[in-house]
């Protein structure tokens, strides 16, 4: 009984918004709770509809307390069974318990995570007042909300979902629901738009209560630092972009420009600078007035030399689409920092899109911090447990599988050259294909998947290709990927969340395939993060099916090049074990980098909150007037001209705009400051200290200067003949996107730190 009390007390503590301590507990303490839930579930199973209604009604009338946890779980499980005809396994309930305790449930792929979340969501909603369930894409949000909707409604919870195409009105309605399914991006963009609205009626969000992340590692680790950006102000891209693209095409590596060792940055050499000066006829390129052309040319060079079509991006429907490194699919709405995006468009001879000044930004990590309660689930969290705990205070609990996993993960095969590797790949595929066993090949990029496809065609092996270019066919290809004799070449797209049914849909000859050994997963590259590899492997051996996986890697792979492993292994016999070790180092270093950068970001996030709190005060409180208190004469004069109510309205809108403008400029200043802050170490100062000092000072200036700007704006007030204020700028605030953070030209802090990894890796490899 004590175990039960302890666990349920901890869960309740979390549900009530108090963070639990960092105690690790054994699985046994959950057992008692599970028994209770199952016993209650059995009781409920016998009860008829009307009686059940009474029980549900009674539950909903009570204020949240300890004893309700078992009841909610039992009811949710019972309703799931009644409505969907699916019985929740104990492991699913266990996962739900872990989540309702505010932890990360690591559940193996194919164990029915979506369903497992339902009891946790019900409990969280009841305890906190609302839950956002954040999923990987719009399709999943809509599917899950529709699929699970009846369960929630049967328990008298309202449920809604948000997708990209929705209007503000639809969004407002959705967010008003108890349970909201959405993507983190949509929630973030709505949050940013809310922070820019000029009238309280435009707000769409309700206060945040709880959040449950599906695929939590993908969101909180892989994408945590990608800023969501809202921009406006309509700036035409520089007409110079096309000219620069032409010039950049003519410049040659190592004579005109250089690339740093790890292919992250380009710089002009003297000869190149001279050529550019002649071509642009601009005089000294390094003169202060030539900042624009210099920026454009460096962007063009970066686009030309470092960004590869069909690897980093694809061209689709006459537009640049970025490929998400982790997911292998098109990253909707993602782009490079302003100039670089334009440069890539110019490189591919596409129409240039307009750019805007950043009006607001928030990273997913900071967005997450706005929720008092966080929990989530994923198939791959264990390797990142340290990070989950350090950054988010989230503990990871591994949930056992319903049936034992019997997939065989075979040892990697390592080759010296890419050619050797591809040869072996084709042979292996031919060999296994002959038996009829289905094969899934995971490649690193669109280009690689197509190259392999060509080789297989030569070898006469029928296959399907799934990559960012033909994502419309995804569902169809995946449905048949498990069929007898199927060969599917894919990018990381077929990783996370993809369920490949053995025998295809509808299943045929399933037993034959089981006898052959199930799905064979081949990876053609190791990824920077082991989780991505595990996700790919996880496509095989689902729900106790047999299966196997193997990685084919070569010393010429991107990973090896990028971290100098190839160089380090030049004169040695490469060892497979070393590679996994390297991955661990890279993960550790990436964590360190993220932690350092976090320190730089925290102060800005705190300032953002201050600004937004101030903004909210202005937005909602109508009677506050800077004018009246600071410039009474002007106030009185304008009052006579415009009338009190209109003046108040005008002042409110103007104040909001001034705040937005100041914040936007401040963000740009900070971005610039970060470019060169590391130099202060030459003066014997700590860059972080100096950064804090500088940003604190200029933020204070920003706050102090606001009132003055407002008064100033009013003293130059111009009214048009209709008595409308002529000078009110109309900002286009529609544009939202996310930024790529790995590929910023002009090296940010993270960039510099990344170098350390390379050195560390090569050191480990050579064993010094």
């Amino acid at each position: 009984m004590t175990a039960f009390n302890e666990v349920s007390a901890r869960i309740v503590k979390f549900l009530l918004g108090l963070r639990p301590g960092s105690v690790r507990e054994s699985g046994r303490s959950y057992d008692f709770l599970l028994q209770q839930i199952n016993r209650r579930r059995a009781q409920l199973h016998e009860i008829d509809g009307t009686q059940l209604q009474a029980i549900i009604h009674e539950l909903r009338c009570q204020a949240w307390n300890d004893s309700l946890l078992v009841e909610v779980f039992a009811l949710a499980a019972d309703q799931t069974e009644r409505i969907l005809g699916l019985r929740l396994f104990d492991v699913q309930l266990l996962g739900a318990l872990v989540m309702s305790e505010g932890k990360v449930a690591e559940m193996q792929t194919g164990e029915g995570k979506t369903l497992a979340a339902v009891p946790a969501i019900c409990a969280l909603t009841l305890a906190s007042g609302g839950v956002h369930v954040l999923t990987a894409n719009d399709y999943l949000a809509q599917r899950d909300a529709t699929w699970m909707g009846d369960i929630y409604r049967s328990l008298h919870f309202s449920v809604g979902y948000v997708t990209q195409q929705m209007t503000a009105e639809e969004r407002r309605k959705a967010y008003a629901c108890d349970v909201v399914y959405a993507t983190p991006n949509e929630v973030g963009f709505d949050f940013l738009r809310d922070q820019l609205c000029l009238d309280p009626s435009e707000l769409v969000h309700q206060p945040f209560h709880s959040v449950l992340f599906d695929e939590i590692d993908s969101i909180l680790i892989d994408e945590a630092r990608i800023p969501l950006v809202i921009a406006g102000g309509d700036m035409t891209p520089p007409e110079m972009a096309h000219r620069c693209a032409t010039i950049a095409r003519r410049l040659r590596l190592n004579t005109d420009y250089g690339i740093d060792e790890y292919a992250r940055n380009v710089h002009l050499l003297d000869a190149g600078a001279a050529k550019v000066e002649t071509a642009l006829r601009c005089g000294n390129l390094y003169d202060l007035r030539n900042v624009q052309p210099l920026t454009a040319i460096l962007d063009a060079l970066h686009a030309e030399a470092l960004l590869r079509r069909d690897v980093d991006y694809i061209v689709k429907n006459n537009a640049i689409e970025l490929v998400d490194e982790f997911k292998g699919r098109i990253a909707e709405n993602r782009r490079w920092a302003a100039g670089l995006q334009t440069a890539v468009e110019a490189k591919e001879n596409l129409p240039l899109k307009k750019q805007g000044q950043i009006l607001g930004a928030i990273t997913l990590e900071n967005l997450t911090a706005l929720y008092p309660r966080i929990c989530g689930m994923t198939g791959t969290a264990a390797t990142q447990a340290e990070e989950f705990f350090k950054i988010y205070g989230l503990e990871v609990v591994a949930i056992p599988t319903n049936r034992p996993m019997i997939r065989v993960d075979e040892k990697d095969l390592l080759f010296r050259t890419k050619a050797d590797k591809e040869q072996a790949l084709v042979e292996e595929i031919t060999c296994v294909h002959a038996t009829g066993r289905p094969i899934l090949v995971g490649t690193a990029s669109v280009a690689e998947s197509e190259r392999l496809s060509a080789r297989l065609r030569q070898a006469g092996i029928p296959h399907h290709v799934l990559n960012a270019r033909n994502d419309e066919a995804e569902a169809q290809i995946i449905a048949q990927a498990g069929a007898l004799g199927a060969v599917t070449i894919s990018t990381n797209m077929a990783g996370r969340g993809t369920d490949i049914p053995l025998g295809g849909t509808p299943p045929r000859q399933r037993q034959t395939i089981l006898d052959l050994g199930g799905l064979y997963v081949i990876g053609t590259n190791r990824h920077e993060s082991r989780r991505i590899d595990h996700q790919l492997r996880g496509r095989s051996g689902r729900q106790g099916d047999p299966g196997s996986s193997r990685f084919f890697i070569s010393l010429e792979d991107d990973l090896m090049e990028r971290f100098g492993i190839r160089e380090a292994l030049r004169d040695r016999t490469p060892e497979v074990e070393a590679i996994e070790h390297v991955q661990r180092i890279i993960e550790g270093q990436n964590l360190e980098i993220r932690q350092t950068l976090r320190k730089y970001e925290q102060i800005i996030e705190a300032q953002r909150r201050i600004i937004h709190a101030k903004r909210r005060d202005v937005l909602t409180a109508a009677d506050r007037s800077v004018l009246a208190s600071h410039a009474p004469e002007l106030f009185q004069r304008l009052c006579l001209d415009l009338g009190g109510i209109r003046l108040a309205e005008l002042e409110r809108r103007l104040t909001l705009m001034k705040i937005d403008e100041a914040w936007s400029n401040y963000l740009a200043d900070v971005a610039e400051l970060r470019c060169g802050i590391h130099w202060v170490s030459l003066g014997g100062k700590n860059p972080l200290d100096e950064y804090l000092h500088q940003t604190a000072m200029s933020f204070e200036r920003l706050l102090n200067g606001l009132d003055e700007q407002i008064i100033d704006a009013f003293s130059h007030l111009q009214l048009d003949p209709h008595g409308e204020w002529a000078g009110l700028p109309g900002l286009d605030r529609g544009a939202t996107w996310t930024y790529v953070i790995n590929d910023q030209p002009f090296g940010d802090l993270g960039e510099r730190m990344a170098k350390a990894i390379v050195q560390l890796v090569s050191q480990t490899i050579t064993g010094q």
């Binding site: 700036m235 940055n265 710089h267 706005l370 102060i603 610039e672 014997g684 000072m697 350390a756």
Partner: protein
Amino acid sequence: MPEERSPLFSSIKNIFSIPDLRNRVLFMLGLLAVYRIGAYIPTPGINHSALEQLFQAQSGTIFGFLDIFSGGNLRRFSIFALGIMPYITASIILQLATLVVPHLEKLSKEGELGRRKITQYTRYLTVVLTMFQGFMTAVALEKSGGTGPQIVEAPGWYFRFMVMITLTTGTAFIMWVGEQITERGIGNGISLIIFAGIVAGLPRAIHDIIVNVQQRTWSLFTVIILLVVMILVVAAVVFVERGQRKIPVQYAKRVVGRKVYGGQATHLPLRVNSGGVIPVIFAASIVSIPSTLGVVFPGTFMKSLASQLAQGMPLYNLLYVTGIIFFAFFYVSIIFNPMEVADNIRKYGGYIPGIRPGKRTAEFIDRILSRLTAAGAIYLVLVCLLPEFLMTGFKVQPIPVIGPTLDDFLASIGMSWVTTGLGVTFYFGGTSLLIVVGVAMDTVQQIESQLIMRHYDGFLKKGRIRGRRG
């Protein structure tokens, strides 16, 4: 150039209103107190009053200088007698070694992990140095004392071994204390320990002044002048220490079409005095070698050399000044490689407006740096020599050929104070002053950034609570 400071963050009151920061400051003060207590625990086997006499006789030698760093520990020969100096020596040695030893050079460029390894080496080297120094000190103590009372009560191997172990343990302990302060307290622990040693003498100095005034040795007027001079000197030191030339660095703009607000965001801050107190330490150690040898190996030649090189003698001053200037340039050339900096700027799309990246930029930086360092070296010379002149005067008599004439001439026009000094003990010597100011400034900046972070942390946490009530 003085920068603006926010009143919001610099009030001492704030320190104590933030629990975490308060704890850090208290932790630091607590450990410094432990250090000071240890400074009064004597090393056994020593006749301390005899030792005191020895020190009074040798104020101009390396011992007097080392005593600054040990915070009077050497004089009292406490268990911390060697103080933190071996650690400083070890760091200097390793820093120089990174220039010549390829393995260390590689390490030094490997970021955090490499630095940690170098710190580890520094610790080992410190222990080795301390053992050696401890042993030598024991031997030296046995030999010294001459006609006076014996310093060592029971010479022999047992004594030497005991002193060696005691001093090594003491220094290792201080090293640990210093690192603990850096990690869990605030400021740089090692610097703060030196700082504490120097400042610990302050109350006594004040007491001395009061006694002097009471006994009418000094007039109140002298004291006031003295205080004003001191304040001015400290202010001047602070001013120069903060002085830097900001070379603007322009970065290719990431944000297109934006006006530039508030001037240059990025610059290379080149300090007037990049080396801090280090050139002085180097110069002083080298200049005092002959007079120290004079103590250890008595002989006619050494004796005359030592007397010429005693503090305040023209030859001493000449060597001292040359040393400071030399090491100021030397140190800057070690820590600052213009070519490397120029390459680094270029790699990240930066440039100094109007100047081509690469070689031209390196030359530009080099030129400015040379001029700054020249000014910095002159400043160091002034700070270090002026107090000495005030104390001992500028002895012109031993200067060859014109010396005696000049001496007579100055005496005849009533300016004999030039040669004999004002007879005023300037509490802070130049070296101490540089250290104290440097450490104080560092620590204040650290406290300040802690204050800023805590200030904003409040907002980050507030958001959470607000959300919870939501």
